[in-house]
C-alpha cells in the first residue's frame, strides 16, 4: 500500500503520513513538523526553497511541478513566464493501411486556434 504526502503530494510513501515518518520528497516529519505548521504552510516553504528532492537519489524522471499538478495543486507551480498561448498547424493524423507506419499527416497551416493568458 502506498500513501500520498499531504504536503508535497508525493504519491508513493511506504508508510502513512504520521508517527514521525519522514517524507523522502519534502522532508516533512509527520507529527513534528506538521504540529507547528499547517500542510499548506509546509508546502509553501518547500516550494519557496526550490521544491527539491530531500532523501537519497531523486527518482528517475521525477518532476516536482507535475507532482503538484497531478494532485490539482497548480496554484503552487511557479509561472516563470508572462504569457503562454497555444498555436496550431492543426495536425491531424488518420489511418492509412492500418499500421502506425502508414499514418498520413494532414496539415492545415497557420491556423491560430487558441490564446491563453
Amino acid at each position: 500500500m502506498k500513501y500520498r504526502c499531504p504536503v508535497c503530494m508525493f504519491p508513493s510513501l511506504p508508510y502513512p503520513p504520521s508517527n514521525y515518518h519522514i517524507c523522502p520528497c519534502c522532508s516533512t516529519e509527520f507529527g513534528n513538523d506538521d504540529a507547528d505548521f499547517s500542510h499548506q504552510q509546509l508546502r509553501e516553504m518547500w516550494v519557496a526553497n526550490g521544491a527539491n528532492w530531500f532523501f537519497g537519489n531523486t527518482p528517475e524522471h521525477w518532476n516536482p511541478w507535475m507532482q503538484l499538478l497531478s494532485a490539482g495543486l497548480g496554484t503552487y507551480v511557479p509561472k516563470t513566464f508572462f504569457a503562454l498561448r497555444f498555436q496550431a498547424n492543426a495536425s491531424v493524423e488518420s489511418s492509412g493501411a492500418g499500421s502506425a507506419k502508414h499514418f498520413e499527416t494532414i496539415h492545415a497551416k497557420n491556423i491560430r486556434v487558441a490564446l491563453a493568458a
Binding site: T80, F82, V113
Partner: protein
C-alpha cells in the same frame, strides 16, 4: 491486434453520451513570453492542462485482452520528461476504441521540438505503435 485510427494532441476532448469525441483546439506549439533577461528553469512546467486523444480499431479477440495506452514526453535533447502516462483501454468488439489522456502540464524547460511518443501495451509489452508526433515550445 488494434489498428491505429487517430492520435492527436489538443487542449480538451469532450465525449458525448454516445462516445462521439469533439476535439477542442488542436495545437502543436506553445509560445511563451518570458520576462526580459530571465532564464527559465530546466524543470519548468507550464501549468496548462492538455490532452492526447487516440482512437484504435479492434479485431476479433481484442475485446478479451487488457490493453494499456502509454504516453512518453521527450525534451528536445531527447531526455525523458516525467513518468510514462498509462491509461487502461476499454475495447469492445466492432467498436472503435477511444482513449482520452489528460495531462496536467507541459514541460517548457527547453525551447525546440518535443517528441510525444504513444503506444499500446499488453502485459507490459508494446503491441501497437509507437506513434510519435512533435510539439514545439518557443520563447
Amino acid at each position: 491486434m488494434l489498428k491505429p485510427y487517430a492520435c492527436v494532441a489538443c487542449e480538451k476532448v469532450i465525449l458525448d453520451q454516445d462516445g462521439v469525441a469533439s476535439l477542442i483546439a488542436l495545437f502543436n506549439k506553445f509560445v511563451l513570453t518570458l520576462p526580459k533577461g530571465q532564464e527559465i528553469p530546466k524543470n519548468a512546467v507550464a501549468p496548462r492542462e492538455w490532452a492526447v486523444f487516440s482512437a484504435w480499431d479492434p479485431e476479433p479477440g481484442d475485446e478479451l485482452k487488457e490493453y494499456v495506452f502509454c504516453i512518453q514526453i521527450f525534451y528536445p535533447d531527447k531526455t525523458q520528461f516525467g513518468e510514462t502516462f498509462k491509461n487502461k483501454m476499454d475495447v469492445q468488439l466492432n467498436k472503435r476504441s477511444q482513449v482520452k489522456t489528460n495531462i496536467p502540464g507541459f514541460p517548457v524547460g527547453q525551447s525546440g521540438f518535443y517528441t510525444i511518443r504513444t503506444w499500446i501495451e499488453e502485459s507490459n509489452k508494446m503491441v501497437a505503435g509507437p506513434i510519435e508526433f512533435k510539439m514545439e515550445v518557443e520563447y
